[in-house]
Amino acid sequence: MIELLEIRKRFTGDAGAVIDALAGVSLRIERGEFVAIVGASGSGKSTLMNILGLLDQPTSGQYLFDGEDVAGLSVAEQARFRNKRVGFVFQSFHLLARTSALENVELPLLYSDRSSIDNLARRALDAVGLSDRVSHTPSQLSGGQQQRVAIARALVNEPDLLLADEPTGNLDAKAATEIMEIFRTLNASGRTVVLVTHDPTMARYAQRTVRLERGRIVADERAALQEVS
């Protein structure tokens, strides 16, 4: 589904210093995989995720999504791509404050061309076990619940790819486990999940671990069918 070829991302700092966040990354991800991208902070894993989600453009290299060169899309086409084909889950949830869970989940639908949005949002909240919290605002929800709202939001447009950037970084162990179980269930039902994390415990939920160091892939391991306790 995803094919990255020699992706480079170069940032120029304020003092003119040049940093290669990604120094030639090539990666294939097949439909239905659950991939963890791990590495220390500054290894380029977040940059990689931004490029996968078209939140950022590579300086050079090719990004094929289902065979299509998506890095060359127009700004409007990229927006449509993010809307339809990718769901994002962030470390800090990024929910709109003072706005109900339902309205937060509806947000991607507002930018799609769908007309009946209420039902879909309710169904997505149902899927993450929050059907009894639809009118709660983020401040009335626990961290784990907020992240589940964010997952419902990521799912509501039924994307092919779920991108999660440190989704458990702000959560306690119990909530983190719940969230990871949701990802595993989603993956089991066929969704492709890419998880960015520095936490090996979370990475163990994935079937495959890609390790980044200073902008390069240094390891790409497929776990044998493993049990996670």
Partner: protein
């Protein structure tokens, strides 16, 4: 995102940031309230003045008042030298004059019928008053030249006077007392309403001018006279003639100012235009400036809001908003806040205009023009105020905004 969804998102954002919304509304609220108030009152005052000027001057007439060079208002004290003879001489000398009526006044005199007392404005006029002032009697009849010649004790009373003194009795032929002088009511004046100064012109009694000057006041000066001109084109010329004749009769030297005032309907129109400019142009301009200042404040607050909402903007981009969607969201949000402020301002301005109108006894102090102009101005200011913050928001890089 379609416009309907955008507007509903804007309304939600207003509710989410209540304090900021309130501050952003303040400027447009005050500006539009001032705009609506001044335009409505201006319109009302203007309408009132137009009616009054027509009532007082008509289209082709000249008003001569005793006293100095004020265009309108009461004559200067101690300068009351205008006499009936002056006006008669003017009318005789100038062929363009078609008719005239002198007027002497006695204000606030008590009038009695039986044991009921009223206070009314008493004017003395000639038998030509009806034709010259364009007002008649609704019942009974007016007095004639013989009555004026003989200082007859007859009176025409306005409806307010009639109601106060007689309630539902018939006033015709009844005898009332003006001060100590008994006069007979011979007619009821046509209804007039309030004049420009808010004075009830139905609380008025007209008696023959000789009766007023000999029996009631014992004065020999009149307050004013109205002269009709045959042809409106001759008005200016005739006014100059009147001045010449009066200066001659009053034996004024070249360097002495007029001791009378001549007002033509043209003068009145000029004055109207001046007042109108103040009421309809300058006052709303003040409201407009307040609105513009409000717009600048709103734009600044919105810019601050964009900075605060960076992560919201990044998130919206991540879930599929185009830069265009973000831009429109902030333009519409800004405009919506300002327009809502304007709507509240229109209501307040309208309420204020009604309050002022009822104090000044104006009618029709409501102006659709004011409402439309206010709304249009607020919309333009709102859209402009939104442009800069919206552009800033749309230019944010999604990956940076989410950091």
């Amino acid at each position: 995102m379609n416009t309907k969804r955008l507007v509903s998102q804007s309304v939600r954002a207003m509710a989410r940031y209540k304090l900021r919304t309130a501050f952003m509304m303040l400027g447009s609220f005050i500006g539009v309230a001032a705009l609506t108030l001044t335009m409505s009152v201006g319109q009302g005052v203007r309408a009132k003045m137009l009616v009054t000027i027509r009532q007082v001057l008509g289209d082709q007439s000249i008003l001569v008042a005793g006293g100095g060079s004020r265009m309108m208002g009461s004559p200067r004290a101690g300068a009351a030298r205008l006499t009936v003879d002056d006006i008669a001489a003017v009318a005789k000398d100038i062929p363009a004059i078609d008719g005239w009526d002198p007027q002497a006044e006695l204000s606030g005199t008590s009038v009695r019928y039986g044991d009921v007392t009223a206070t009314a404005r008493i004017t003395g006029q000639s038998e030509r008053w009806s034709r010259v002032w364009g007002r008649g009697v609704s019942r009974g009849e007016s007095f004639d030249a013989a009555a004026v010649a003989s200082s007859a004790r007859v009176a025409l009373i306005g409806e307010t006077v009639a109601r106060t003194l007689f309630s539902d009795q018939d006033p015709i032929d009844a005898e009332i007392r003006i001060g100590a002088v008994p006069v007979r009511v011979v007619g009821i004046l046509e209804r007039f309403g309030n004049d420009m100064h808010g004075m009830d012109r139905d609380n008025e009694i007209i008696v023959p001018i000789s009766t007023l000057m000999r029996r009631l006041t014992n004065a020999d000066a009149i307050n004013a006279a109205k002269l009709l001109v045959k042809d409106p084109a001759l008005e200016e010329e005739t006014a100059a003639e009147i001045k010449r004749v009066l200066r001659l009769r009053h034996a004024l030297d070249k360097d002495q100012p007029d001791d009378f005032t001549v007002v033509t309907s043209l003068d009145a129109q000029k004055m109207m235009q001046m007042i109108q400019r103040v009421l309809v142009v300058y006052l709303p301009l003040v409201g407009g400036i307040a609105l513009v200042v409000g717009g600048v404040v709103a734009a600044t607050l919105m810019l601050a809001s964009v900075n605060e909402r960076t992560s919201e903007i990044g998130l919206r981009r991540a879930v599929g908003a185009r830069p265009e969607d973000i831009r429109r969201q902030f333009v519409i949000e800004t405009a919506a806040i300002i327009i809502v402020g304007a709507l509240v301002g229109i209501l307040l301005g309208y309420a204020g205009a009604q309050a002022v109108a009822s104090r000044l006894k104006l009618d029709g102090a409501f102006s659709w023009t004011a409402v439309l102009v206010s709304l249009a101005a607020a919309t333009i200011v709102g859209l402009l105020a939104g442009v800069l913050p919206a552009r800033r928001a749309a230019q944010l890089h999604p990956a940076d905004a989410l950091r």
